[in-house]
């Protein structure tokens, strides 16, 4: 197997793809701070539904449903873990840095700031797969913005 393939499909990614965390719709508890958005990648037909609970400016939790490739499943799974308990503004900033890591040549992700999300640095060698890694994030931002729909085609 080539090295960049090993960099793309790191163990952590394969693990989260096979056993996604925070998967499935949350229980309906009438919580007013619950927001939902649908994400769609028209290039491959992948769809994803994201549920996020925000209170006092903090992301209390996020869950997702859907089906997709290993990159998009693992990204959604790791994202739900990464954003939990973070202020909304910090979540948006985190997405900016996550996106930059995969798209900007020679970007040096700060391992401390991206934590586990740094496993996606290998995506940079596969530009066509960046949309797979960002679908969940686009959907999360749409939910935070109060929009129902997100697409990778913007």
């Amino acid at each position: 197997m080539s090295d960049d393939l090993r960099d793309l499909y790191q163990e952590v990614i394969l693990d989260h793809a096979k056993n996604p965390r925070n998967y499935g719709a949350p229980e309906q508890d009438g919580n007013q701070s619950h927001r939902l958005a649908h994400g769609n990648n028209p290039l491959c037909g992948d769809r994803l539904t994201l549920h996020v609970t925000v209170a006092d400016g903090l992301v209390q939790g996020a869950r997702f449903e859907g089906d997709g490739c290993a990159i998009s499943m693992a990204s959604a799974s790791l994202m739900t873990e990464a954003v939990k308990g973070k202020p909304e503004a910090e979540v948006r900033d985190l997405f900016e840095r996550f996106h930059e890591m995969m798209t900007v040549e020679d970007a040096e992700p700060d391992p401390d700031s991206l934590d586990k999300l740094a496993v996606f640095s290998g995506v940079r060698e596969f530009p066509v797969r960046v949309k797979c890694a960002t679908l969940a994030w686009h959907t999360l931002i749409a939910a935070l913005d109060g929009s129902d729909d997100a697409t990778t085609e913007v």
């Binding site: 197997m1 080539s2 960049d4 393939l5 793309l8 499909y9 394969l14 096979k18 290039l43 491959c44 037909g45 992948d46 769809r47 089906d67 997709g68 490739c69 290993a70 990159i71 596969f126 797969r129 797979c132």
Partner: protein, 415 residues
């Protein structure tokens, strides 16, 4: 495997054919290119590439208007290409061949001219469940404009076209049947002769999307008795941006023009314009001149190989690939119709087609992963996407072996 070897067409030298395609001289990700995506767009032989260069280097000028030698020579070559397409499709007359950008434009042309002029509210159009988006959306646009009904002819779980079910959909309101000759997602070849005879019995005209059929088999539009037939040059190993629409002369003559502009007129005054005769009536503006001429050269090249030999070679590849791929227990073939073009759509248990595509690419193997611009047929099988290997004239048994080995690696990696 021994059986397949015995079936191999000895008159067909795939290594010689490969040598005609310069793209194979360039490695991909450090591996020789194994190109299994010809159904999306085929690679080009040197004959096609040389024809394009030759036009621009030695005989290029605008056509149908110059009084000088160069323009007349270009016009002759362009019209010569039309004659080659006529013979390729078995059409009776060259004026029944309209040059278009590709299959998509050909279908839109028929929808927007014949469809607009002849259909009215309540009329019906029948499509099959395995149409490419390009043979769905133009009819939906017409439906919404004219308040028509679209009906969908079903397929079975193997992807076979259900002739009996199709016949039940026909009625006196059926005005157009728009149907693929061969499915790009499943490979299924539609029993066109029966479909066309049934449609004609009810007075409907039939448009055939031949994009996936012409690279694999001899087509005879007179024998089929279809009213319209479209194909794209780029899937036929020719240039992109050029294709052809065949239409019966009587229908084309009665149809209003598609786009307005130069070439499609006889006289223009501000109060009245007189349209040109077919095929020029439908060819507004300067066409892809070099593309059409190179398409003619491509057809010459394919005829030299011989479609009997091409079909036999691809049948051997399809059988061998089906045998090798079904060795994997977790591999599920989507589309196993009795009569198929050399297309293998498949899914792997627990592995998304995009991941398959990425892993295979690193071994130099190009396949298509996705919905193949045919989302309704993906929905029919309850999936979002498949991986698809499609075989062309330059593919070999070694390509199939490389595919099988890479699928094995993929399963190991994600297993």
């Amino acid at each position: 495997m021994t059986m397949a070897h015995q079936n191999e067409d000895m008159a067909y030298d795939v290594e010689r054919v490969r040598a005609d395609f310069p793209i194979f001289e360039h490695p991909i990700n450090g591996h020789p290119l194994v190109f299994l995506d010809s159904a999306a767009s085929a690679q080009k032989p040197r004959a096609t590439i040389d024809a394009l260069s030759r036009v621009y280097e030695t005989e290029y000028a605008n056509i149908h208007r110059g009084v000088y030698d160069l323009s007349m020579r270009t016009t002759k070559a362009f019209e010569g290409a039309r004659d080659k397409v006529r013979d390729f499709l078995g059409a009776a007359e060259s004026r029944e061949v309209i040059f278009v950008r590709g299959g998509t434009e050909g279908i839109n042309l028929v929808a927007q001219t014949y469809g607009r002029a002849n259909l009215e509210a309540g009329d019906e159009i029948i499509l099959s469940h395995m149409e490419h988006h390009s043979n769905i959306v133009p009819w939906q646009m017409l439906r919404d404009e004219k308040d028509l009904t679209l009906r969908v002819a079903p397929i079975d779980d193997q992807g076979n076209f259900l002739l009996d079910e199709f016949e039940k959909l026909l009625n006196e309101r059926t005005k157009i049947v728009a149907i693929t000759h061969a499915s790009n997602a499943l490979g299924t070849i539609v029993p066109l002769k029966q479909v066309i005879a049934m449609a004609h019995d009810r007075g409907a005209v039939v448009l055939v999307d031949g994009c996936q059929a012409v690279p694999h088999m001899t087509v005879d539009v007179v024998d089929l008795d279809c009213d319209f037939y479209v194909f794209s040059g780029h899937k036929l190993y020719g240039p992109s941006g050029i294709g052809a629409l065949y239409g019966k002369a009587a229908l084309l003559e009665a149809m209003p023009p598609y786009q307005g502009g130069g070439e499609m007129i006889l006289t223009v005054a501000f109060d009245k314009t007189e349209f040109n005769v077919i095929p020029h009536k439908f060819e507004a503006g300067t066409p892809h001149i070099a593309g059409a001429i190179a398409l003619g050269a491509t057809i010459d090249y394919l005829n030299e190989l011989g479609f009997d030999h091409i079909a036999a070679h691809e049948k051997m590849l399809l059988e061998y690939a089906t045998e090798r791929l079904t060795e994997f227990n977790s591999l599920h073939l989507i589309g196993t119709a009795d009569n198929k073009a050399s297309i293998l759509s498949f899914t792997l248990q627990g592995i998304h087609p995009h991941d398959i595509g990425t892993v295979l690419d690193r071994s130099g193997i190009a396949i298509r992963a996705g919905h193949h611009c045919a989302q309704p047929v993906m929905d029919r099988f309850g999936i979002a996407a498949t991986a698809r290997a499609s075989f062309g004239i330059y593919n070999s048994r070694e390509d199939v072996d490389a595919l099988a080995a890479a699928i094995g690696k993929t399963i190991e990696m994600f297993g």
